[in-house]
């Protein structure tokens, strides 16, 4: 196989790229950095073994995930993907806190609205100064002679 058709892996490893190269579909020559990251962190032989143990239809996703983990580790050698997990946890905490605040405000508003309505209803009842006999008391109405 000519040099121009070698995958990024075989190019990096300076070897012939066979037709059935395990890595070729997932590490094209157009993206040498992708394989460089993966090779630095995991090693070509480990990647090959990992992919060969998977069914073909799952290898693409696995290669993408491995590539993501490798690039995360290159960017942050101490925490790698765990750094991203940490940040997401922080985002979740912040969002939950804000959510609780907003829910409190909505509940408070609802309670205030309820109290306001009750107050208005009560004031309407007291404003009506009708005849005594129309009250609920047991007094007899005056005689209308």
């Amino acid at each position: 196989m000519s040099n121009s058709t070698r995958c990024a892996a075989c190019k990096s490893l300076r070897r012939r790229c066979p037709q059935d190269c395990t890595l070729a579909p997932y590490f094209p020559s157009t993206n040498p950095q992708r394989f460089a990251c993966v090779h630095k962190i995991f090693g070509a032989s480990n990647i090959t073994k990992m992919l060969q143990q998977l069914p073909v239809h799952q290898r693409a996703v696995a290669a993408d995930c491995i590539s993501f983990e490798a690039s995360s580790r290159v960017r942050d050698p101490v925490y790698g993907c765990v750094g991203i997990i940490t940040q997401l946890h922080q985002l979740i905490l912040v969002a939950q806190r804000e959510l609780a605040e907003i829910q409190g405000q909505v509940a408070l508003y609802g309670a205030q609205q309820g109290q306001e309505q009750k107050r208005m209803a009560q004031s309407q009842v007291h404003q009506y100064n009708g005849p005594i006999w129309f009250t609920t008391s047991q007094q007899d109405p005056p005689h209308l002679d």
Binding site: R34, I92, L99, I102, Y109
Partner: protein, 256 residues
């Protein structure tokens, strides 16, 4: 330099870094877990010795070696300051275990699940903020999380941007959450954009579920050992020098 003994409390595994800064196995302490697994002589200055004791360290190292390879991990640790190597080993162990547990997604499944939680929470937040505004309640200006765009892996910032003062409970963070099947397929599409390989989507099965408890147990075990080693060395002032026999662990991750 006298060989330091690694501290293993009740079962080994990854231990705290109390020991020589350059590690140290061999001698009377026996080989470290890594050298035991590799069946090689554990020399004084072994880079793995402070982190993989001879009891259960070998099992942890087996996973690390299978996924990353001993030489790759060694090179990685050499480029990391000594006081941060324990954190690096813990996270490497976590990723290795996650990868063995789920050969397709590894720890990325956890990231996907958390990402989705963030999106859901922010959507709920946006809805409630709009609801509040509609109620005409004189509330303070809404926070800047209104209608956030959906997250993808390409949007996630680098882990190195975490502020140094951040403290997190690693055992909680490393608790994996199994994402639903539909989410994994959606994230698969996003990964393709990230990977840039231009492949067409392929079918994939959901990651193996139910393995979260073991990973969480691993994280807790590692942290407990680290905590016990930190507590034991807490009374003495430890400095990290080139010839120091002890190391100072100043993790950014608070151990609870």
């Amino acid at each position: 330099m006298s060989s330091s003994s690694t501290i293993s409390s009740g079962g080994g595994g990854v231990v705290g870094g109390v020991g020589s800064s350059s590690g140290g196995g061999g001698g009377g302490g026996g080989p470290c877990g890594a050298c035991k697994f590799l069946r090689r002589k554990c020399v004084i200055g072994c880079i793995f010795a402070p982190y993989f004791d001879s009891e259960q360290g070998a099992a942890h190292f087996a996973a690390v070696h299978k996924v990353f390879g001993a030489s790759n991990v060694s090179k990685l640790l050499l480029h990391i300051p000594v006081h941060k190597r324990l954190d690096a080993v813990v996270t490497i162990c976590y990723e290795a275990q996650a990868r063995l547990r789920d050969p397709v997604y590894g720890c990325v499944a956890h990231i996907f699940a958390l990402q989705q939680q963030v999106v859901n929470l922010q959507a709920e937040l946006s809805y409630l903020q709009a609801h509040l505004a509609a109620l005409e309640l004189p509330s303070p200006p809404p926070p800047t999380l209104l209608a956030p765009p959906p997250l993808s892996i390409t949007d996630l910032p680098s882990a190195s941007s975490i502020p140094a003062t951040a403290t997190f409970n690693l055992s909680t963070i490393l608790d994996p959450v199994v994402p639903p099947h539909w989410l994994l397929q959606q994230r698969e599409m996003e990964l393709r954009q990230f990977g840039g390989s231009g492949r067409s989507p392929t079918e994939n099965s959901p990651p193996t579920a139910g393995g979260g408890g073991d990973l969480q147990a691993l994280a807790r075990e590692l942290l407990q050992r680290h905590r016990s080693s930190v507590e034991q060395s807490a009374s003495a002032q430890q400095t990290c020098t080139s010839t120091a026999t002890t190391t100072t662990i100043t993790p950014q991750l608070r151990l609870t």
